[in-house]
Amino acid sequence: MKIFITQNKKLISKTAILFVWLLFWQFLFIIINKEILIASPIRVIKTFFSLCLEYSFWHTIFYSMIRILTGYLFSVLLGILFSILCYRSKILYDFLSPAIHTMKSTPVASFSILVLLWVKTDFVPIVISFLMVFPLIWTNISIGIAQTQKQYLEMAKIYGFSYFKTFRFIYVPSVLPYFISACHTGIGMAWKAGIAAEVICTPNASIGKKIYETKIYLETPELFVWTICAILFSILLEKIFLKLLYYISRKIGILYENKNNTAI
């Protein structure tokens, strides 16, 4: 009962905060009074619902999501693989380190234009989300491995743990918080970078192309709708992916939690 009341309170307070922001937005719209600069919230909501009824709207979101998720999943898989390989080989670590640091600081626009010269426009968002997230996953897992406590590894050595047992019972639980944090940050990053790449390369059926078109035709309400959609789907993806990650980790027995269900 107490939990229910607390949750209700939270919901009411969140709704109130959202309402205050909507009021502020409406207030700004009234002051500026130019739809080309700022769309009214009512118009944006109306446009949103009318777009929701169109097949092309969902088609666009679906394809953008598929492209970005493909890049993201590749970055997660290769990030895991290369961080393990780099842990095993110092030479590989030294060799890859400068390239990965360069990837981290290169702007999305430069990458997008460069990648566009090499691959079809449809594939650019995949490559860009990969390039943006891969360094993050690689760095976090590498830090996680390096932070694995030496005293547990010594204990494993004394008690005759096999490589697999040491990996499964010491490295995985030590690295998992770093990995989950990277996946969490990475999904938002992939989404933002992917859409930015779509705006630059304008592949068919993409949120980025829709945003680009709103700029060309000066359709500010639609620009707002697509931006809000990008934000909403980013939050949704983040939540679904994290839940999925926790679920899989629990299922394969690599997530250890205390009584409050918080990961250790």
Partner: protein, 207 residues
């Protein structure tokens, strides 16, 4: 018949910044509990790490015929993501045996608890239970009674004396009462050898 366990140091030299062991020789060829005493920083833990193979001697050699060594580290080194029982079954798959050790050490009621939920004394007992569960041929116990109250200490001492009767068990302690209660074999670690001492000698060494 099981081969008798032997542990031998031959002219072992080991240094960090200062020399810890120099042409050090010693031999344990009889089963029993041996207490190693000595001032802080004299190299007792290093001595254990050399036996266990975590450190290698810079000169000389260490021989033993133990296939397994149970090492109770100075820190408890329990995996924080595992329960008490899981911390034990990770070193010995025989769950029944692990439970019996927990029961003998009066720890069975906390088998499902995580290390973060236990007091210092309980953690120490669990770490000791884990070392026993591994059932090595040589036991290295580095300050096993830290944080354990007097009554429990007595109980654990009699348990160890029964359990480790047929093993070579080396115990590091700073407490002469603990040492004498555990064993009649008392040694002080010196640069070149282990010096046999009595309770009175030990007081002299410390001061």
């Amino acid at each position: 018949m099981k081969t008798k366990t032997i542990l031998q140091f031959d002219n072992v030299t080991f240094c960090y910044d200062k020399t810890i062991l120099q042409q050090f020789c010693c031999c344990f060829n009889k089963q029993g509990i041996y207490c190693i005493l000595g001032k802080s920083g004299c190299g007792k833990t290093t001595f254990f790490k050399l036996i266990s193979g975590l450190l290698l001697p810079q000169k000389g050699s260490i021989h033993h015929n133990a296939s397994k060594i149970s090492f109770l580290f100075q820190e408890n080194r329990l995996l924080p993501w595992f329960t008490v029982l899981d911390n034990m079954t990770v070193v010995n798959n025989d769950k029944e045996y692990c439970i019996s050790i927990l029961e003998q050490l009066d720890l069975f009621h906390i088998e499902k608890k995580l290390p973060s939920e236990l007091s210092g004394g309980m953690l120490r007992r669990v770490a000791l239970a884990k070392a026993i569960a591994y059932d090595g041929d040589i036991f290295l116990l580095d300050e096993p009674f830290v944080g354990i109250d007097l009554e429990r200490k007595q109980q654990i001492i009699s348990f160890l004396q029964k359990k480790l009767l047929h093993k070579i068990c080396l115990v590091i302690t700073h407490n002469i009462e603990e040492a004498t209660a555990l064993s009649s074999h008392l040694f002080v670690l010196q640069k070149h050898s282990l010096k046999t001492v009595t309770q009175n000698d030990f007081v002299e060494f410390i001061h």
